[in-house]
Structure formats: C-alpha cells, structure tokens
C-alpha cells in the first residue's frame, strides 16, 4: 500500500512495487500474467507513478524503455513467457543502454502452477548479457528492486530482477523506507547511441566491456555474501532455493548469490577452495553448476566433491522436501492416495460462466477447436472436451488457419479458433489479418467477457477504462474486424444456447473468414456479482434422470445421485441447465413455493 512506513507483511510482488516506489520510479508498465500481476496492480496504488496495463508485454517493454530514454526511472513486469514476447526489444537494449534506471521484472513459474510451460529465465540474463538480481524473500525483493535501479544507472544497462512464483506469492515481513526522489533527467537526443541498426557495430563492444565491469562489481556486491559455517560442507545457492538450503544444511557454509548474473568468479573460486563437499542448490536448470565448470572449479580444486543436478531434479518447483530428499535421503511421508484414493480436483469453469454456452455448442457441432490462453482453456476438460489444442498467447487463430491449409476440403468448415477478449487484443489481431490476407475461411470465436478473467480482472483496451478506472476509448470489435476485412461478424449472447449454436453453424459453413463474438460479462466481476438472481433447483418428481443438465459442466450441480441437486449458495441463476432440461424439472426456487 502507498501509506505506512515500518514493518509490513508483504508478498514479493507488493514488496517489488514498494521498492520501485521508494527508488523514485516514474513509469511502470506490464501485461497481466501469473505470478507477476500484482506488481503492476500494487504500483497503481502509488498515485505519483504513471502505471499502465499495456496491450502486451512487448508494448509494455517499449513504453517503459521509452520512459527510461526520456530520463525517468521505469519498470516493466511480466511472467516468464512474457519475456518471450518482449524478447525482440529486450535483446537490443544492452546495445543502447539507459538514461533513467530501467528494470525488467521476470516472474518465473517453476512447477507450472499457472503457465503453459516451464522455463528458466536466468538464461535470458546470459543470452542478453544483462545483469540479474534474484531475491529470496519479500524484504530482499524490496531492497533488490532499489539496488537494480542504481546498478542500471551506474552501468548504463537494463537490469533484470527475477522472481519465481514462490517469492512473488509468499508473504514475509518487510521494513519499508522513505521514498528517494529521482526527478526525470532532461532528454537529450543521442542517435549514435539510440539508432541501433545504423550505429550497432560501434555499440556492440560496449556490451562485453560492461559485462566485465559488472563481473568485478559482483565480487564486492554486498548481497553476494558468505555465511560462514563448517568448512566440511559448502552450499552455493540463490533466490528461494536459499531458504530450502538453510533448512537442509543448518551448519553449512553458504554462498548466497543475490546477483545471479554475471557471477563473482573469484568469490566462487575462493569459496570452493575452502570447503570439502559443495552442494549446488538451485531450482530448474543447472545454471550455477554450468558456470562452475566454465570457471574450471572442478579441475582446479582437486578433492572437491560437487553435488548438484546429479541428485536434485531440474524439473518443477523445489521444496524443503525435495532438497532434503535429494541430498540427504530424508524422504517425507507420502500422500494417502495409494491407500484410499484421493481424486484430483481440477479447476473448472465457474457456475454461470459465459464460456460454458460456447463450449456446449462447439461440442455439439463436433468442431475441431484451437484454443488460447485464459480460463477458457478449461473447455478442454469434460463434459465439454471441446478444445483440441492450446499453446500460448495468440497462437490459436493462426494454428487453425495452418490446419485449414492442409485439410481445407475435409476440415475447413469444422475448424474454429477460440480466443478471449484480452488475449485477442494482446496478439490475436495480426493472425486474424493473416487469414483475410491469405484468403482463408477460418471461423474465430471471440469470447468477450469484458475483462481479463484468469489473472483476476485487469483492465484491457476493450473495457473503456484504464488501470486506475479512468475513462478511455473502448475498442469496438465489430468495427475493428470489419476494417480488417471480416465481412461475416455476428454477436451472440452465450446464455442463448440456440442462437449461439445457429451462429456458429452458419459461420463455419460460410466459406469466408468469420468471427462470432460471444458477449457476456465474467460472472466474477463485482457488478455481475451484485446482480441478484434466484437460484434454481431440481424438482425430483419431474426429473427423468437423463443427466442432460450435467452437460453444461456447472460446478453448482451435484450429479452424484440419480436426481441431480443444485447448490443454492453456488447457483447464480443463469438458467443454462434449465434451458437444457426437456421436462421442466429445473425451476427458480420460489417458482413452486
């Protein structure tokens, strides 16, 4: 929060926002993505910072970098795969450097809690030759964010701050500081530094010289520190892994790297020379371990035993159990699943979710469906089982078009891409244009639920309001689609199951590129929750036990007994199940009272 100094109980993300504010930041931008979302959300609570949700991570990166070039301290925040989207811009900034301090937050998701893939973004630091700091708790997240701005300005470079889901979403105690003002510097045109395609060859050598200087800086950087313990056992670690290592090896000597790139080579060599057995405790890839062999630590320190990824998994999230189990052979008690059977509990579409209506129709029409990233990916699960593919933001539309190219005669009129409104604006427009440009016939369902649903209702350009709820232009999807050459545009209410099915059927058959806009707000939006609806119930005497109502996949309906029952507290009264019932057995609770 903006107010209150002293001891606070902050998540890593809240602490980064606080640290950036204390560092005198002026501009922050991002696109929502778990586990990074709350960084930008929290920054928006500091009124003196210009904060935006951008249309995608590359735009966010370019906006924040522009602010840096103009002389202000600025920050961009994204999840690990967001860096993939922003990578084109990212890779050129080490050539041109910064004016105001510029910090890039990458929030990785080991364990894929809420992501399509697992990737270790420490490699982007090496790839781009960009320094990277890695906090181990919220207090470090706050402090390291401030340090990142100082390093950025001192070395004229973008600086990465890498968190993981566990550091972003864990809360711990933080001691806040006052803000140090950094008024934006004056802008000075400097084409020889900033028109990179022309002057890049001159700038290229700066990057490696800078990296050498940063390597020397790392040797004396106070947050690369040794915690002295027994010389028998040494641990090299960083980030959240430090916490697990401290619990597994309470007596060890620990080298904790606050800066994970570039490495303090001499410090590492000296540390390794002073211990007999070295444990490398790191999550995901053997990033530290690879550098130990690059530095020749193994060869030069005969007799040193190094234990790392030969024992510790390089997939999924670490935990105290994983570290103790892998290195010490202490295995924790197992789940009771083997004894009694513990069924998994997958996430599901909410009661009354507008996407349910679309998936019910697509399932019925036996369409081949390419999906995209959002809550609506859950349409792949029973009872809909309506999605054939899902990869990453914006991929579904062009994936469908690619399939169409191969099997146009047989599949062309059965292919549908589904995409949410926020994802469409993020990266769905260019592939849409591609279909028109290259004479395709693919049908796209634009699932407009008037928000960014999965990450918790962030504003986007279709909503007519900014991150601070200021009024702004709201994209008119119908006009936009017509302007890029889609003539067949239909709008349906997905609660109207018959109309949704008809629109889809006709669009799929139309033989030209078409878009069905399924328009209904997410039921979790506050204004939707405030609307009162009567819950529905099943009249046992009328129910023929056909289970058709279960086909709408509503978690408020319990189908475990022959006559299904509806939870009064969870039913939102959307009436989708009542529409499916042929026997009028599903009615609002008061209708027969």
């Amino acid at each position: 929060m903006a107010s209150g100094n002293g001891r606070q109980f902050f998540s890593g993300n809240e602490a980064i926002a606080r640290g950036a504010w204390e560092a005198g930041i002026h501009v922050a931008a991002g696109y929502p993505g778990t586990p990074s979302t709350e960084i930008i959300e929290n920054l928006a609570r500091y009124p003196d910072v210009d904060v935006e949700w951008s249309t995608n991570e590359k735009v966010a990166f370019d906006v924040a970098y522009g602010a840096s070039l103009a002389g202000a301290r600025s920050l961009v925040a994204m999840k690990h795969v967001g860096v993939n989207v922003a990578l084109d811009s990212l890779m050129v900034t080490p050539f041109s450097g910064v004016h105001g301090g510029f910090v890039v937050i990458t929030a990785d998701d080991p364990g894929m809690h809420s992501s399509q893939n697992e990737q270790d973004n420490r490699y982007f630091a090496k790839f781009g030759k960009i320094p990277m700091l890695e906090p181990a708790d919220s207090e470090e997240a706050r402090r390291f964010t401030k340090l990142a701005f100082d390093i950025s300005e001192e070395f004229d470079t973008p600086v990465f701050l890498r968190t993981t889901t566990r550091t972003s979403h864990s809360k711990s105690i933080v001691t806040t500081d006052e803000q140090v003002k950094h008024p934006p510097k004056n802008y000075k045109s400097d084409p020889a530094k900033h028109v990179v395609p022309i002057y890049g060859k001159h700038l290229r050598k700066n990057i490696d010289e800078r990296l050498k200087k940063l390597g020397l800086f790392a040797e004396s950087f106070a947050d690369n520190r040794v915690e002295r313990g027994t010389p028998e056992t040494g641990v090299i670690t960083s980030g959240i892994s430090y916490q697990y290592a401290r619990e597994a090896f309470p007596d060890a000597s620990v080298l904790k790297l606050g800066m994970i790139y570039p490495f303090p080579r001499r410090m590492i060599e000296d540390f390794c020379a002073g211990v007999k057995t070295l444990y490398v405790v790191e999550e995901l890839e053997p990033f530290i371990e690879e550098h130990l062999s690059i530095f020749g630590v193994t060869g030069r320190h005969a007799g040193l035993r190094i234990i790392g990824k030969d024992k510790l998994p390089s997939v999924f999230e670490l935990s105290p159990d994983a570290v103790r189990g892998s290195f010490l052979g202490e295995h924790p008690p197992a789940s009771f699943d083997g004894e009694i059977g513990v069924p998994v509990r997958p996430p599901v579409l909410c009661p009354g979710c507008p996407h349910s209506g679309v998936y019910f129709a697509l399932h019925k029409l036996k369409a081949t469906v390419t999906g995209d990233i959002g809550c609506y990916t859950l349409g792949a699960l029973p009872p809909f089982s309506a999605i054939d593919t899902t990869f990453c933001m914006g991929a579904g539309i062009a994936n469908a078009f690619g399939m169409e190219k191969v099997h146009r005669d047989t599949m062309g009129k059965k292919l549908v891409a589904v995409i949410g409104d926020s994802t469409f604006l993020h990266s769905g427009i260019a592939p849409m244009i591609d279909i028109v440009f290259n004479r395709g016939i693919t049908t796209v369902v634009l699932m407009d639920n008037a928000t960014t649903g999965m990450t918790g209702h962030q504003q986007h350009p279709g909503m007519g309001k900014t991150i601070r709820e200021e009024k702004t232009f709201a994209i008119d999807y119908e006009q936009l689609l017509r302007a890029i050459g889609i003539r067949d545009v239909r709008v349906v209410d997905p609660y109207d199951l018959a109309a949704t099915e008809t629109a889809l059927k006709e669009s799929m058959a139309s033989g030209e590129p078409s878009v069905v806009i399924s328009r209904r707000a997410c039921v979790l939006l506050e204004e939707e929750k405030a609307k009162t609806h009567l819950p529905y119930e099943v009249i046992g005497e009328l129910c023929e036990e056909c289970d058709l109502c279960l086909k709408i996949g509503c978690p408020a309906i319990d189908g475990s007994s022959p006559v299904p029952s509806i939870s009064r507290e969870r039913c939102i009264g959307c009436d989708l199940c009542a529409k499916l019932c042929h026997f009028d057995a599903i009615v609002p609770v008061t209708a027969h009272a």
């Binding site: 109980f9 979403h169 599901v348």
Partner: protein, 212 residues
C-alpha cells in the same frame, strides 16, 4: 488451554506450521492471511505462501503459514504441519500427510465432488474422518456450514473453523480478536467475532476422534 500449557507448547515448538486447504473460492487465502497477521502481531517472524491464478477456479487450493523466531522456507515440509485446517473434507485428506504424527486436523464436514478429468467417474472417498483418526491424527470435525447458518450467514463458516483451532496455536484469544477487529469491515465484525467464539466453544467441547 491454560496459560502455562500454552506457553510450554510454544516454547517447545518455537513456533508453528499451519496448513490451510480447500476448494478455490472457499476463502482459504483470506483465513490464512488472518492467521499470519495474528502471528505477526504476537511478535513472531512469519511467512505465508500460496499460489494464485487458475487454481482458484474451483481447483484444490492450499496455503502455508509458518511462524516462529526465524522462518526460512515459506513451504511447510510434509509431515511437519502442527495443524491442518481443511475447509472441505477431501481437501483435508489430500493434504493430511503434511501433518506431523499426532497433529491436529480441523475438518469441515462439507463435501464437494470434484469435476472429472476424463471419462472415468469420480469416486469420493468414504469415511475420511475415521481413516485420518486411525492414522493417529487428532481429527476435530466441525459442521461449520451449519454453525454459520445458525448464526445467520453461511459466509461465517471459515471464521468458525478459525475459532476451532485458535486455542491450539498458543496465541492468546485477545490477539485474534484484535487483528480481526482491525482487518474486517465493521458491518461483518460482530458476526465474525461471534463465529470465532462459537468455533472456540466447539473445540473446547469437541468429542474428538482420537485413536491411541
């Protein structure tokens, strides 16, 4: 729990590990937040962790709270939770192996059938309470939904469960009510303070299923 015994429990453990589990949307994150803040106000180092995102759409949700003189990992190691508060019965079973031998499981009796992930029907395990008692855990079953409805609002169910475990944390009742008073909107405060008290009474009089 008498004051002397409470202090003894805290000194022995030098803090506590409490795990909260439930179904997305039930309020796991809210009650774990309240517990963490109470521990912080009681002067402990505290860490709390969970994962936000898609899992909250009706999936299995878990939140770890650890407090003591100095906390490193925010994640509780399996087998080391002193208390598990399960807002749903199956979610109690799912995380029970995180509880230390003889540890306490406060189990809401509510059952929610999970969605299927394939064509096979979901089998909801029977007799979860007796299974867990036989494993040596102290199982305190609470029909929090019914208790909350009795108080006039089903939304107070989580606070009833909180009340049913708070004495076992060793943190005095005044700390809990103080943090709750500071955190909740005024219009819900009375309801929640009553729910907290009801939960505490239930814990005090509970016919707990313990198999020795």
């Amino acid at each position: 729990m008498p004051e002397g015994k409470r202090r003894e429990a805290l000194n022995r453990k030098q803090g506590m590990n409490i795990l909260f589990s439930g179904v997305g949307g039930q309020g796991v994150l809210l009650i774990s937040e309240l517990v963490a803040r109470t521990a912080m106000h009681a002067g402990f180092d505290v860490k709390k962790t969970e994962v936000h995102g898609a899992a909250q759409r009706g999936g299995s949700v878990v939140s770890h709270v650890r407090f003591g003189p100095r906390i490193y990992s925010p994640l509780i190691p399996a087998g080391e939770a002193d208390i598990l508060v399960a807002l749903e019965k199956l979610e109690g079973l799912r995380w029970a192996h995180y509880v230390r031998p003889g540890g306490l499981i406060v189990l809401n009796t509510e059952e929610r059938i999970p969605a299927a992930i394939d064509a096979n029907p979901v089998v909801y395990p029977k007799d979860i309470e007796s299974f867990l008692s036989k494993k040596g855990f102290v199982v305190r079953s609470v029909d929090a939904h019914a208790v909350a409805l009795g108080l006039g609002n089903h939304r107070a169910a989580n606070t009833v469960l909180l009340g049913a475990m708070m004495d076992d944390t060793g943190i005095p009742a005044e700390q809990w009510t103080r943090v709750m008073t500071a955190s909740l909107p005024a219009k819900f405060l009375d309801l929640n303070l009553t729910a907290l008290r009801r939960g505490m009474e239930i814990a005090g009089s509970a016919a707990q299923s313990v198999v020795s």
